[in-house]
């Protein structure tokens, strides 16, 4: 097989190679290298560690099962850290399919740290409207979410006592897949009400939030599964994301190799046509 004939390679062979490069490391438990936390994930972790115990934190899980592989590990690790630090958590989701994931995260972390729903945390559920919800929360959180995810009036929920708007929120922890998400929280809430915020985002959207991090609008940033793995290591609970990093490494090398091979094949075919 010469480089020129590679141009006619059936893409299904590439699909098979990608599949195997992900399956084999997971199946045979490869360990290529340990995960090293970065400054951005340390910023995320430290922002929560530095808060006084018992502070009220808004945990917004703005993602759905489509990006759960990246966002769910961050969300769970954040809930674990918040509960270990005895923070009062007000959770919500701005994606329709987000509330069950938020429920699951709070249930798992709540069980590990013996936290009680309604007393230590609440899941306000989903509200349609995207950034409008954030803006309305700035006026009144109880009027925006009159009931929680189970239909219970927020007036009856102990953890919501005294919570009117963002003035009572000490930190926003946002786990986001895109729109609505980190950008809208920064624009509508951080810029207006100056509430500190940290964000865990999908890798696709991570590059666009670096300016917010550098400008001080975000205090920490987790980007993709790699960011989630770094954070899991810091929280002391390596889990889903950490497990996936070895397969991630091999897949990245393969795709880089494919770029080189594709260009060599193209260059080879151009030379052949030139003769």
């Amino acid at each position: 097989m010469n480089l020129t004939s590679l141009q006619r390679l059936d893409r299904r062979w590439i699909f098979l190679a990608v599949g195997l490069l992900v399956i084999v490391p997971l199946l045979f438990n490869f360990h290529i290298a340990p995960v090293q936390p970065s400054n951005r994930s340390r910023g995320f972790y430290d922002a929560i560690e530095k808060m006084p115990e018992g502070s009220v934190v808004l945990l917004s899980g703005d993602y759905d099962p489509g990006t759960a592989a990246e966002n769910y590990p961050m969300h769970l690790a954040a809930a674990r850290q918040l509960m270990r630090r005895n923070m009062k958590i007000i959770a919500l989701a701005l994606y329709p399919a987000g509330p069950p994931l938020t429920d699951q995260v709070l249930r798992i972390a709540g069980g590990e740290y013996h936290k009680q729903e309604g007393v230590d945390y609440v899941n306000l559920g989903y509200k349609v409207g995207n950034e409008l919800v954030m803006s309305q929360m700035g006026q009144s959180i109880p009027n925006t979410f009159p009931v929680d995810n189970r239909g219970v009036s927020v007036k009856l929920i102990p953890v919501m006592k005294g919570i009117q708007n963002f003035q009572q929120i000490r930190l926003i922890v946002n786990v986001s897949a895109g729109y609505p998400g980190t950008k809208e929280w920064v624009q509508q809430v951080v810029s207006r009400y100056h509430v500190p915020m940290v964000a865990g985002v999908t890798a696709v959207s991570a590059p666009e939030y670096y300016p917010y991090l550098q400008a001080g609008q975000l205090h920490g940033l987790l980007g993709g599964m790699a960011g989630a793995a770094e954070y899991e290591v810091l929280v002391g609970a390596p889990a889903l994301a950490t497990r996936g990093m070895d397969a991630q490494s091999l897949a990245h090398v393969f795709i880089a190799f494919m770029i080189v091979l594709g260009n060599l094949a193209f260059a080879g075919s151009k030379k052949g046509n030139g003769r």
Binding site: V18, G19, L26, N29, T67, V147, G216, G224
Partner: protein
């Protein structure tokens, strides 16, 4: 390697649907089409149930029918009427009525975005760029700050199309292109990471939750 398949019928259905969608990688086929259509139907049903129960009912019907005279709740008749007007789209002669609620939403959201983008993206980002170009004792930080400012200015100049990119303006715009290419390359690298991560998530479900084959 030993297998411990799940006994949960839900996990088996989920796994078979996952494999059905993956079958598209070989070629388009009736199994994939079945899964795709089922996905669209279930998603749409899920969205409408969630929207009605989590948003429309507690923010409209409950206050309106529960405490009509209190706190101006009677005014909620207006968004109710606007919401119903949306359905005039199904009637060719009356579909002009649906423009009123759309117009209302189109007044509210742009206003929110003007202030949000203005404060969050415009003012704060310029504020973040006002950096010292010489930091005593830290040549690395100084070079970084200079590059940040030069990169931003050259990128903005590239997007200025009111004057032809010639001479000094053209040279600066070209520099802006190089910064943009680095940015696009970084975005590409992150996009690769994102896509692969999502596949890893599905494979973990199949190998761990379904087949019980993973050892950790």
């Amino acid at each position: 390697m030993s297998l411990h398949p799940s006994h949960d019928i839900g996990i088996w259905i989920a796994a078979l649907l996952t494999l059905g969608i993956f079958s598209f990688l070989y070629r388009d086929n009736p199994v994939y089409k079945f899964c795709e259509h089922l996905f669209v139907g279930v998603s749409a049903g899920y969205y409408v149930v969630l929207t009605m129960i989590s948003s429309v009912y507690p923010n409209l019907f409950q206050p309106m029918f529960g405490s009509f005279a209190k706190d101006y709740h009677w005014l909620l008749v207006i968004p109710l009427i606007l919401g119903i007007m949306l359905f005039s789209r199904f009637f060719p002669r009356g579909d002009w009525l649906s423009r009123w609620p759309i117009a209302f939403v189109l007044g509210v959201y742009p206003a929110l975005r003007i202030t949000g983008f203005g404060q969050g993206d415009f003012v704060e980002q310029i504020h973040g760029t006002i950096l010292p170009l010489w930091v005593p004792g830290s040549i690395g930080t100084s070079i970084g700050n200079i590059l940040l400012v030069v990169g931003l200015v050259s990128t903005l100049i590239f997007f200025f199309f009111s004057k032809e990119h010639k001479g000094a303006l053209g040279g600066t715009a070209r520099l802006g292109i190089y910064f943009l290419m680095v940015s696009f390359g970084a975005s590409y690298g992150y996009t690769v990471m994102a896509r692969v991560s999502l596949l890893i998530g599905r494979v973990m479900f199949l190998l761990d939750d379904w087949l019980g084959a993973l050892r950790f």
